[in-house]
């Protein structure tokens, strides 16, 4: 098996589907990731801002109520109003407020001089030798040229969340996408290979070698099932093809011969004009040939009708015993006149699901076959009974039987044992029997039953 080309694999549906579903997976994962982390980050920011708003409101209130000196007192740490760099470590550790009160732009009244910000909300960095953690700030003007700036370090969770989501996005793109590409490639390559063998089988069959079959792995997977289905189909086709050959020969013989005979008789009528007795004989003979021809046509049409399977829709409960009894009674005198006998052993009340008319024709054809092929004085028998919950019909005789190598062929269309080529009959009778049996899902076999043979029909069990 050759390895499929890369572009063929990429064009394969499986590959495209794998890729598409992975892309969808990545996009949906990103949306969920952003949504969930975004929600937490926002709520953390809200907490920070609440804290800042609260603190600035307190200072503002103090200033408005008790004046600037009182407000300055709020900033006191370790007895100092102006903070030093060293104080910031503790603030960062404790996640405490960092603030500054300035007058006239750059005169620091209280707080940390290294905190710079613009009016309103903003993000800033401290002017500090070692600490450069970002800080959220709010600057308000308490009075003309008196500015209060309040800030709070970002909670570390925000950092962690943001880092996490960045890392996850990278992982999705860098790991999942290539992985899906590889998975898709190998998946579609294996599917492609199996389909390729099926295509190859189809091509081979199309090029005329009808005996080719799709390989079967034996693990019963969907490809095996497909291959089995295709093989069954090919079996049918091959059989049908073989049949057509037999049929064309059969049609040539069974339809052309009577036609030729009719033509011959017409010619004779032309020659014998005036001789009424001769003409009458020709007409009678031509009529007999015509009947043979029509019989073959009818059988072919019937066969087509049965094999098309439409009759199945009209299946109903049929009293098989009654049909068999009726046919037994109808044929018994015919057998007697042919110096043969017909023994009947029919259990009553055996019902099957089927088509009464076709079942009658099936039995009639089997009886006619026995009538035609059993030797003079033969004992033919018809038996109907239940065996293992299944209705079983047997029609057999006590000789001469059918040679083993011909048994498989008797159900073929237009097949007739060479010796009986000349006897009347279309050679379709048993094909029709087989087709009717198939329509009823009944198994039909021709068994040796020394000294004769027996046709055995076993219907499916009824529930």
């Amino acid at each position: 098996m050759s390895s499929p080309s890369l572009s063929a694999v990429f064009r394969a549906t499986v590959f495209q589907l794998t890729l598409l579903s992975c892309a969808a997976f990545v996009v949906i994962s990103l949306i969920i990731l952003w949504g969930v982390t975004g929600y937490y980050i926002t709520s953390l920011r809200d907490q920070v801002e609440d804290r800042i708003t609260e603190e600035s409101a307190f200072i503002k209130e103090t200033y408005e109520r008790d004046g600037v000196l009182a407000a300055e007192q709020v900033f006191e740490i370790n007895g100092r109003l102006i903070w030093r760099e060293g104080d910031i470590y503790e603030r960062l550790e404790e996640r405490e407020i960092v603030a500054v009160l300035r007058a006239d732009d750059d005169v620091v009244l209280a707080g940390y001089p290294g905190l710079w910000a613009n009016v309103g909300w903003g993000d800033a960095e401290l002017d500090h030798d070692e600490i450069d953690d970002p800080i959220t700030t709010l600057q308000i003007e308490l009075d003309t040229d008196l500015f209060l700036t309040v800030g709070l370090f970002y909670p570390p969770e925000i950092w962690e969340l943001e880092n996490f989501r960045r890392a996850a996005a990278v992982a999705l793109f860098v790991i999942v996408l290539p992985l899906s590409l590889i998975t898709g490639y190998f998946l579609s390559r294996s599917v492609y290979r199996r389909l390729d063998t099926l295509s190859l089988t189809a091509e081979t069959v199309a090029s005329g070698s009808l005996h080719t079959r799709a390989p079967i792995r034996g693990n019963g997977d969907e490809f095996d099932r497909l291959s089995e289905g295709i093989n069954r189909m090919l079996d049918r086709l091959e059989a049908a093809n073989r049949n057509i050959e037999a049929v064309s020969v059969g049609v040539a013989h069974d339809l052309k011969t009577p036609l030729a005979n009719i033509g011959g008789r017409l010619e004779l009528i032309g020659r014998d004009l005036g001789d009424n007795a001769a003409i009458e004989a020709h007409v009678a003979a031509a009529d007999a040939h015509l009947k043979t021809l029509l019989g073959t046509f009818d059988a072919l049409l019937r066969l087509g009708e049965v094999e098309a399977g439409q009759r199945k829709a009209a299946f109903r409960e049929v009293d098989l015993s009654e049909v068999a009894t009726d046919l037994g009674a109808s044929f018994e005198p015919v057998f007697e006149e042919a110096t043969k006998s017909l023994d009947q052993a029919i259990h009553s009340g055996i019902m099957v699901l089927g088509d009464r008319d076709l079942l009658a024709q099936l039995m009639s054809n089997l009886l006619e076959n026995a009538l035609e092929h059993a030797r003079d004085g033969a004992r033919v028998w018809i038996r109907l009974g239940m065996a293992g919950g299944r209705a079983t019909l047997e029609i057999g005789d006590d000789g001469p039987g059918i040679p083993a190598h011909l048994k498989a062929r008797v159900f073929e269309r237009f097949y007739r044992a060479e010796s009986s080529r000349t006897t009347p009959g279309s050679g379709l009778g048993l094909s029709l029997v087989k087709a009717i049996a198939d329509l009823h899902e009944a198994s039909l076999s021709l068994d040796q039953d020394a000294p004769g043979s027996v046709f055995r029909l076993i219907f499916p069990a009824q529930d």
Partner: protein, 224 residues
Amino acid sequence: MKVVIVEDDDETGQFVERGLREAGAMVTRFSDARSALPHLASTDCDVIVFDRMLPGMDGVQAVRLLRGSGVQTPILMLTAMSGIDDRVDGLEAGADDYLVKPFAFSELHARLKSLLRRPPMATDASELRLADLHLDRLRHRAQRGDTVLDLSPLEFRLLEFLMLNPDQVVTRTMLLEKVWGYSFDPKTSIVQTHMSRLRAKVDKPFGQDLITTVRGAGYVIAEP
């Protein structure tokens, strides 16, 4: 007998028309349903022969239309199709009988006669009589004069069907359809065999034949 034939195939039409004229019938022939329908609606006739496949409106449709407009004349359908479903379609549309092409003229004639007789003798009568032949349908007993006939159930059914259609030709296919209930035609001569057995019991011992063979057509039961 006034017969209307609706048949597009000229050969078949001529064949049927000539046969019926020779049998003394008055025949009107149409080659499609559209031209036949107005005539059928306005003129009385005894029986109609309709081809199943006609150009334009097919026979089944035409029959349904006729029956819908209240025409009760017996109808026989001709068809080249022999599938059971085709048969059922025709009868469901309102045709009274059905004949598959090709057919012998005698077969068509016998069937038309049988349709004209409809309804024949009360089909639910419990006793049938013809000359000195007496059939008790309830007790399944046949008697000729004082002699009780020993008939098989099948022979009884054959005789019963003949007696329900006295003085009429009953064909082999009619017997297969009506007595046996088969729509297929066995190659074997089961009808002939049983008929000859029946006649051996009904006629032979009495020296007077009620049942006669009509050559190439079928059988008739009639007063001698």
